[in-house]
């Protein structure tokens, strides 16, 4: 917004007023109240703590957490420890700042306070529940990396000899694969899935990557290995079709399409695969 208004003349700038919230509503609010579910160390009891940070327009949750970090005092004025959370890119492409904001899983960098206050006041922040909680809002999501290893979510390229450029893909395939390539391993789909739990179900994240790699002409060469990665006890059959994954995915990945395409692949592989041996 700023670069645009800076370059325009003062008369034209008035036309851009719609970019900022109405001035009278800004002046009403001085503070934003935030309730945070905290944990001091792994295994310790969780507790709620209330904070109040100075309001300014267009705040996001990360900037509120930074304010708390600068001045770690609860709403009642008691001194406390700074809240721990993870962050990196601040533009919703790395996925690491994912947490439960107002009861729904999403990235805290793109969670805007002005919108959140319309949902709930005070705003609540909780760590994701499907991953081991390290401290406060930080979770250990290495489980998702294990999923990727389980399904061999990579493409074998040149070994001792050059495999060449590989066959061409159609535009449709390229477009579908591009959608799957956007996965940032944030864990929203697993958090919202009523079937996902440790070792119980591998979840949509890895299944979408199976689809992604198996659509690739070179990836197809090891297709069966990936299928077998999602055909175990924790595999694709545990999907309960609640379809929350596709609703909460911040990158709009067609996760359910991936699951159903792989349902067909695994069914055919399971029914007829053994007849080939």
């Amino acid at each position: 917004m700023s670069t645009h208004t800076d370059r325009t003349s003062s008369t034209e700038a008035t036309a851009d007023r719609s970019y900022t919230p109405a001035p009278e509503r800004q002046s009403e609010r001085k503070f934003v109240d935030i309730r945070i579910k905290r944990r001091d160390r792994p295994g310790a009891e969780q507790r709620w703590e209330d904070f109040s940070v100075p309001y300014r327009p267009n705040l996001n949750i990360i900037s509120c957490l930074m304010d708390i970090q600068k001045n770690p005092v609860t709403k009642d004025g008691a001194k406390t420890t700074p809240v721990v959370w993870d962050m990196n890119c601040l533009e919703q492409v790395c996925g690491i700042c994912t947490m439960i904001v107002n009861g729904k899983v999403r990235q805290s960098c793109s969670a805007l306070v002005d919108q959140l206050l319309k949902e709930k006041d005070p705003i609540t922040l909780e760590p994701m529940t499907k991953f081991p909680n390290v401290r406060d809002l930080a979770v250990d999501r290495s489980r998702m990396f294990e999923h990727l290893k389980q399904v061999k979510a990579w493409i074998e390229i040149d070994g001792t000899h050059d495999l060449g450029a590989g066959p061409k893909m159609t535009q449709d395939e390229v477009a579908e694969r591009y959608a799957y390539s956007r996965c940032m391993t944030c864990g929203c789909c697993l958090e919202a899935c009523p079937q996902y739990d440790e070792d119980q179900y591998i979840g949509p994240q890895a299944i979408a990557q199976v689809r992604y790699q198996n659509m690739h002409p070179s990836g197809k060469m090891t297709r069966d290995e990936r299928l077998e990665g999602i055909m175990g006890d924790d595999g694709i059959t545990n999907c309960g079709n609640a379809q929350n994954c596709v609703r909460v995915c911040p990158m709009s990945i067609p996760l359910t399409k991936a699951i159903y395409e792989e349902n067909r692949e695994t069914i055919l592989h399971g029914l007829f695969g053994w007849l080939k041996r």
Partner: protein
């Protein structure tokens, strides 16, 4: 594998048997010949060669498997409908709730009518007394609590079956795309509504000739 068999067993043989069950019951819906036709239908079923073997293989074993494994699946669930109140998420949870209702409803239904093992209520198995079949069922349905149990039980059955068809279609990779799933979903809802109307009609055929519709279609 076990899960896929669970899904399959819900359609074949259990779903197929459910439709056969509706067909047989619907014999009672004829405004004049209802009683005789229904009793004859029960007698005909009992005349199937190797009836006990067929009943055990195609009904009791799949039913037991579907019920017990279904409870196991339900045990694993971590519902979150209040945080994520999307329609499909509700369908997911209701499928499990109706499953639990059905476990007890079908247990009661079998003990009461198939085996006649509930002392003080009914001790005559419908299957073994074809001549009294209509009368036994009618006597039960005249008790309001029993009738209510059946109206709820049938609603759960129809929901579980109609949604189950949809689940089978998507789980077996037959219906994949978003639009295709939406269209199939509406088709399943329509099928479920039709089944429920037919089944409630025939339930009331045991209370008055012709059922709720009063033999309108005859």
């Amino acid at each position: 594998m076990l899960r896929k068999l669970h899904q399959l067993s819900g359609i074949v043989p259990l779903g197929a048997f459910l439709l056969e069950h509706l067909y047989t019951n619907s014999k009672a819906a004829h405004p004049e010949r209802g009683v005789a036709d229904f009793n004859q239908a029960v007698a005909d079923l009992q005349a199937i060669p190797y009836v006990l073997f067929i009943e055990i293989t195609f009904i009791f074993i799949p039913l037991l498997y579907h019920a017990v494994y279904g409870l196991f699946i339900t045990w694993e669930t971590r519902p979150n409908n209040l945080s994520y109140p999307y329609p499909r998420n509700w369908f997911y949870t209701i499928q499990r709730i109706t499953g639990i209702i059905l476990f007890f409803f079908i247990l009661f239904h079998l003990l009461n009518f198939r085996f006649g093992l509930i002392p003080g209520l009914n001790e005559r198995a419908v299957a073994h007394y074809p001549n009294e079949a209509y009368e036994i069922v009618s006597r039960e349905f005249q008790m309001l609590p029993i009738l209510i149990i059946y109206i709820i039980g049938i609603a759960s059955t129809v929901w579980h079956f109609a949604n189950g068809i949809w689940l089978f279609l998507v789980d077996w990779g037959i219906v994949i795309g978003e639009r295709a799933q939406r269209v199939t979903g509406y088709a399943c809802i329509g099928f479920g509504v039709l089944l429920y109307v037919l089944w409630i009609n025939v339930t009331f055929a045991f209370l008055r000739p012709g059922g709720l519709l009063g033999g309108l279609l005859y």
